[in-house]
Symmetry: C2
Subunit: 623 residues, 2 copies
């Protein structure tokens, strides 16, 4: 992959940073955050402004351009990718390394006295604005909102904002009607004595109304905001899609409903002025609830005294704890997903040695097998199909320039998943189609030990996920190995494959206490730059555990793997496993045989079934 | 122990809360924090205001008194003790439990509209003031500084502030002269472009000047502040103690030094006005560095624009990383401490069955043996000598009303330590002098497994301590057991037995990355209310580890136990240990034999040596 040449673009951006047409006063620095106006992690092409200006298109990163410099902050998953995609105009700031300055510290070190730092107020979360503004102010600079997005002014061929049809989800998928969700939300609002709730995150809008969309690739969401009052429901959404009879029926738009459940549909672009009206009409002690991750623009629409900000909204927390309909749907989705992967790996085993299978072909084949499954909608993220050194690029996506051919001499890492109407999947398997080296097996086995340590962990109800992160690393640490990413993220139910508010990470920010019904990934890894990558990922459900003493009735939790795909035993150095770990692998494989085997049988996929049976032969320790 | 009757005191306090003699306007609530004007954890009798008003004298707790209520916030270590010591006027707020309100939330729920909440501005750290003030303001209340301490106005027999002689420490103990410490500090100040540094924590003043005192029991510190400029040193300290020739010589007060190393001695009480003068004399871009834990009163003395606040000062961080002289001193101190405990446990083994040894007698005996050791100064904290149900009171201190007699039927827990001129110790051993039950052994063994898991952990350089906390809990968690305290705290070098900025805890507040030379405790436990307490504590030194792959040259760390006291093998269910854990115990005991055995031999303590040899017989797994 060759880097994007950005010299001309940066020149143009620096011009508009000084142009009275766009800025009241010149700005000496301009921040281009990663997200969209909803602070989404995955975004539509029209929102890929940071990729447009820099070339770096990973899912996380912030660009800052000054008169003299252009710098990009991103995390360990993307160090290699960002270095490949950006030209020499850009400095890579490796977040998480000791000597990397924060954005604020860097700005203070490079800016002339009394500088103005501009940002689109819709693109920056309120909490981040606050932190950054304070740091800049204390150094004599100003963070200023620039109404017109300066990237958009130079992005002549910017794509249109998508506005695709909606999918309605009935009770068999969601378990709870949207009316009951609104009622539950209003009771949380009453508890906190707030009159209004502003829904800004796209997956929260989708979850609340039991609707799905496809405005953002891989994420079944649609561009919309909602403002919920104690007696009103306003949905800000554009397009013909609201004329679809199924949607009208689902939202009961044409019925005479009780007034408090009547959904008023309003234009997407009117959210700011509507919120300003709400803000202006408030009287003493009336509060408006927003996430502190909502955009600075929307937060400012409500006068400070009337804001009630929390890091996680009640929708975010309710969405994270899956009900029985949702967990049953997730189980079904994962069985179908396993069927597709058994087909894929069986096919790869036969084809790789021919030297004709590239990373892209393998990824396409995986999609093909998945799309044969019932209720398949789309992939849940860009398939990471990587072999040899590409595996060390943690969020690698094969493109023609980098596309390697799979071989019997290199490790192959496949991290992929799909959206089914009944659930979202995300699974990583690392395979060798020839004979792995002793070192590759050693590393793989440490990663597996970490995976098992988390998956089999027992912990008290309400434990925060960050306390489990080092279980995943202990075996690697003992040999002086580590990986520069968290161990797990929350997973949505036919929603975003990354969702808050829980996770398993040494970082402690997305970290609401774990409770039964939450779903997270368990995905330790090890990456040897220039050589290979290893990752073993299951999606796991938090379930009650049985323990001898049950934490004085506080309750015990553990995980149940939802992902049921064999872990390649050829890669395991069985003598590095304890007997307990060995039993875990054998029990897991037994379950794959029973559950996925039955489904392969039902679908008449005999060859894949034979592959599954071969791959799930019990391990035996020899020492 | 019977609770303190506080009805009359609370009545008096509520009177002064309304009295124009002490408050400009009546305050509807008054906060009594735990610390002194230096935000110390352990305090002098004259600063025990919270204990005076409530009866609860644990080392952590905040009292809030309103017209109608009196409430006490404390953590899991003190739930039982606080409940015992306080009368019915008080509500115990159990911090860390899910349903316990924060102080702010509670105040908002009980106060009438537009209330004033008073606090002594010297007693509240600036960061806490800020948080609390903001929360109260957003609910329509005000946090107000009350100059006169309201507890002092009703505390008629309040003891005098101590002003004891100082101890000077030479290079053989400290490794670095105070002048070199000042020079290093000034270079940190220059890096951050600050002109002044205010030293407010008592242990930081003591460390910086290589002086020790005894103004606060167990903590070899003295009441003082310091203000360091680029060319000036001001030490705010009272008393004749500055006339001591040894101190004058040590600080070179009577020599003609280079001006930048001349120590100006000023009255302790003049710090506020001096700081206000410093603040008034600053010009643009001149900054004053303070800890954000410094008192609100001192922080406010510097105008906001001139403050440079950090959670940890460079002194705090430099102090935590011990140099070779300090670690060698700590090793010596721990060997002497082990000698004293071998003597004690040998004596207890003979005496307990006679039924004449009480908790207080055992604690006194421990002190007696310690005081026989070279360079002994005092204990490092109040000895926790507890048997049977008293062991479950985590920070128990025996008093005549609770004093139990040790017996062959109950578990005995001794958590004790001393200050030696060469180091500070803190060790907990849990013993049974008869035959422990299977359940007691089971619990003890899980605690031991947790202790070993931390002590033997290998982790990359720069790992934060909170990531190691769950290693200590994993074995307990597997059976549904846990403990409600952190796993370890920083330990000073002939300084406070609890010091920042590192530790091992599920709480993430005192958590600077671990590096070689830091010293922390490793002390998991298990407590069965009304029955027994178990804790196994060593002080451990962070040292480089040898690993196969060394984290790509980032460096590997592990711990070396400084404490060398046998762990009672009678309490271990050896079949619950892995072979590795069993080897750890045997290797540890072998080291105790070699190192402490040699010292017992040298000191001619033959009987204690025999005890050591018996107690360190290797374990054998039978399964």
């Amino acid at each position: 992959m060759s880097p994007k040449i950005t010299t001309e673009l940066l020149k143009q951006l620096r011009q508009v940073m000084r142009s009275p047409k766009y800025v009241q006063e010149p700005v000496q620095a301009y921040i281009v955050p990663s997200g969209d106006a909803h602070q989404s992690e995955y975004i539509a092409p029209c929102d890929c402004r940071r990729a447009f200006i820099s070339g770096f298109d990973g899912s996380a990163g912030t660009a800052i351009v000054t008169e003299q410099h252009a710098a990009m902050w991103t995390d360990g998953r993307y160090f290699l990718q960002a270095a490949h995609q950006m030209d020499n105009n850009w400095t890579l700031m490796k977040m998480g390394l000791k000597d990397t300055p924060t954005q604020e510290d860097w700005l203070v070190s490079v800016l002339p006295e009394g500088s103005k730092v501009g940002v689109d107020p819709f693109m920056i979360p309120a909490d981040q604005w606050k932190r950054m503004s304070k740091a800049l102010r204390s150094a004599g600079h100003d963070l200023v909102p620039v109404k017109e997005n300066l990237i958009d002014t130079i992005w002549t061929d910017c794509p249109q904002r998508p506005c695709k049809p909606l999918i309605t989800l009935d009770l068999s998928y969601t378990g709870v009607s949207w009316r009951d969700k609104i009622t539950a939300l209003r009771s949380k609002m009453a508890e906190r004595k707030v009159l209004w709730f502003v829904v800004t995150a796209l997956d929260e809008v989708a979850w609340l109304f039991n609707l799905r969309g496809s405005d953002v690739e891989y994420n079944p969401v649609f561009f919309a905001y909602a403002v919920i009052g104690m007696n009103t429901i306003r949905l800000f959404i554009d397009g013909d899609r609201m004329m679809d009879p199924a949607v009208r029926e689902h939202l009961q738009l044409d019925s005479t409903l009780e007034p408090e459940f009547r959904v008023q549909v309003m234009p997407y672009g009117s959210i700011l002025s509507e919120l300003q009206d709400v803000g202006a009409g408030l009287s003493l002690k009336e509060k408006v609830w927003l996430s502190d991750k909502a955009s600075y623009a929307l937060t400012e629409a409500i006068p400070k005294a009337y804001r009630y900000l929390t890091p996680y909204t009640p929708i975010c927390i309710a969405k994270a704890v899956k009900n029985t309909s949702e967990t049953e749907g997730m189980r079904r989705a994962h069985i179908k997903d396993a069927v597709a992967l058994c087909e894929l790996f069986n096919w790869l085993e036969k084809e790789v040695s021919k030297g004709t299978v590239t990373e892209i072909i393998a990824a396409d084949k995986a999609e093909e097998f998945r799309s044969q499954q019932k209720d398949f909608v789309e992939l849940s993220f860009a398939t990471i199909s990587s072999t040899g050194p590409n595996g060390a690029i943690i969020h690698y996506k094969p493109v023609p320039e980098t596309n390697r051919t799979l071989s019997v001499n290199e490790i192959y890492l496949l991290d992929s998943g799909a959206q089914y109407k009944d659930g979202t999947t995300d699974v990583t398997r690392t395979m060798h189609f020839g004979t792995p080296s002793a070192y590759e097996k050693e590393c793989f086995t440490y990663v597996l030990k970490g995976h098992i340590a988390v998956s089999a962990a027992i912990f008290p109800n309400g434990t925060k996920g960050h306390l489990l992160d080092s279980f995943a690393r202990s075996a690697l640490w003992n040999c002086g190995l580590d990986y520069l990413h968290g161990t797990g993220h929350g997973v949505g139910s036919f929603l975003n494959v990354h969702e808050g508010p829980c996770g398993i990470s040494y970082k402690t920010f997305a970290d609401e206490p774990l409770e039964a019904g939450m779903i997270v990934s368990d995905e330790p890894g090890y990456y040897e730059d220039g050589a290979f990558g290893i990752r073993i990922e299951n999606v796991v459900l938090v379930i009650p555990a049985e323990t001898k003493y049950n934490f004085k009735n506080r309750g015990s939790l553990t995980f149940e793997p939802l992902t049921l795909v064999p872990i390649q035993t050829k890669m395991i150095d069985v003598n590095l496993l304890t007997q307990k770990e060995c039993n875990w692998v054998n029990d897991y494989h037994q379950k794959c045989r029973e559950v996925v085997g039955a489904e392969l049988e039902r679908q008449g996929r005999r060859e894949a079934l034979q592959w599954l049976l071969r791959e799930t032969e019990p391990l035996l320790r020899t020492q």
